[in-house]
Symmetry: C2
Subunit: 308 residues, 2 copies
């Protein structure tokens, strides 16, 4: 397969039966390949990652979204993660032989079709945004599902597709195009959400933190700890080691130990390279210098040759 | 391509013209793909890395070896890295859909052919060794090229292929099979080779260091610094961060700053993952969780499905 797009839809559910129904739609789509999915009660959110060519990715994304609109009732939804709809956010990302323009086109087709078939209002964000402020997912999601009725009628908040009226059970959907980002969560050895929020604030772009970082604090009841959940939108400009080192400083200030970290979704290779290169002072380490990537590149080059 | 073998032959030369002639033999072999090559004056050594299926890899390795035997004269060779022949060591490593047994077979065929066609005595090492002590490259290379005449006639040192008599210009060759390893060099901010040797000694397996590490010290004249050159044969059991942290402790003891590090040859993904996971305390990070690998795996699985 030459062209590869990644899609990481976020759905407002952690009901195992609904999760299974949504995943089934992606699995059954030809040339769409599920990479990963995670869901938990405290976020009450399902994050799915899959890849494919443009046609198979949009087909799988729409099938999954239709199913989610059918099965999720936002009127009953509670969770610590900000959300505005059943199909909360659906980003398309170029991975290989696809441009950002191609992904913007996918987002527009996805949004238009979802609005037409299900009557769900859709906003475009990221690189697909039609206005500067709509680039920012947080701006669109302001007030969340609960305040949708009053927000959606404001002229500056007119949806890009569909009616200016929230879908009764599915709310609204945000879709768009962006570069791949790193989802990175750090678990703190404290149950004190106030302290965790202070640490998250120190890292968050809009609060004076790193310009490519969004950070939020959540309480994880089953472990009685807190977690800093981060999206690092440009992990090449703001590498994870730098974010982690500052988080260490802030946590130490409150005498909070860092228990562990985890990628939310897939770990981009470049993010790992930058971490290793920093701590071991490694020069000239690029993706092409990683054995597995070099082998893959060499073989593809060879296949290209023998085909031509 | 389903089966993949990596071969990393080491040749005793840093003459750009000879390097070019050797590389040409690999480049012209169908289905063999050059990944990397490095050479420098202080080691006076060329390290090449290439991949292919079994047949193309042995063909390329033999062509390159014939050319090296033809062009390199060991009687004039000087260098800081231990070496015993023009084609010093030729390991074959399983990467994908090839067993260690398959690589042992390749090493035997390579050794037998090189001995027959060029009259170069050949020893088998690593997993291909015919006696326990021959598993260790250092045991075979003891006395290096200069003492070959007296060493090779000892009964316990009878070559596995070819005559018990050193080739006049090419010495002997060591070939074998092994797992991929990490070559890792650390540059020290001191020109004092005695200090660098003490640090190398602290890390080296046989001197009481880490059981999977071979470490040597070299002086790098053009930079007026020293370098610890390491082979970490099992970087899963002895991860690089652990080696680096001990090196830091030993260097600090002598007030020597660590300037930089570099992989010698390709960087195995698992080695990078272990470094990132240690410093950022990342749980559950495996090769399958790296985006680029997951995409590749998903596509291969999909292609397998559609073919069957």
């Amino acid at each position: 397969m030459r062209e590869i797009v990644e899609c990481v839809p976020n759905f407002s559910t952690s009901d195992p039966k609904i999760v299974e129904s949504i995943l089934k739609q992606i699995k059954k789509t030809k040339n769409a390949f599920l990479l990963d999915h995670t869901f938990d009660d405290y976020y009450n959110r399902l994050v799915v990652s899959f890849v494919g060519n443009k046609e198979s990715v949009i087909e799988a994304a729409l099938s999954a979204a239709f199913k989610a609109v059918e099965l999720i009732d936002m009127r009953k939804h509670k969770g610590q993660h900000p959300r505005i709809g059943a199909v909360d956010v659906v980003p398309f990302m170029p991975i290989k032989s696809v441009t950002m323009g191609g992904c913007i086109e996918l987002a527009r087709r996805f949004g238009q079709t979802l609005a037409e078939k299900c009557g769900v209002p859709v906003y475009l964000y990221g690189e697909a945004a039609t206005k500067a402020e709509r680039r920012d997912l947080d701006w669109i999601r302001k007030g969340e599902y609960e305040k949708l009725a009053e927000m959606i009628v404001k002229p500056e908040r007119k949806p890009d597709f569909g009616p200016a009226k929230s879908h009764p059970t599915a709310g609204v959907t945000v879709t768009g195009a962006r570069k791949i980002m790193a989802g990175f969560n750090v678990n703190l050895g404290t149950a004190d959400l106030k302290v965790a929020k202070k640490i998250a604030k120190a890292l968050h772009a809009e609060k004076g933190g790193f310009s490519n970082v969004k950070a939020m604090a959540a309480f994880i009841p089953e472990k009685n700890i807190t977690q800093i959940g981060m999206s690092v939108t440009d992990f090449e400009k703001t590498p994870l080691y730098r974010v982690f080192e500052l988080l260490k400083v802030e946590a130490a200030r409150y005498n909070v130990p860092i228990i562990s970290s985890e990628f939310c979704g897939m770990a981009p290779l470049k993010a790992l390279i930058d971490i290793a290169a920093c701590y071991l002072k490694i020069d000239k380490l690029t993706e092409e210098r990683v054995l597995e990537m070099a082998v893959q590149n060499a073989i593809e080059k060879g296949e290209g040759k023998s085909n031509s």
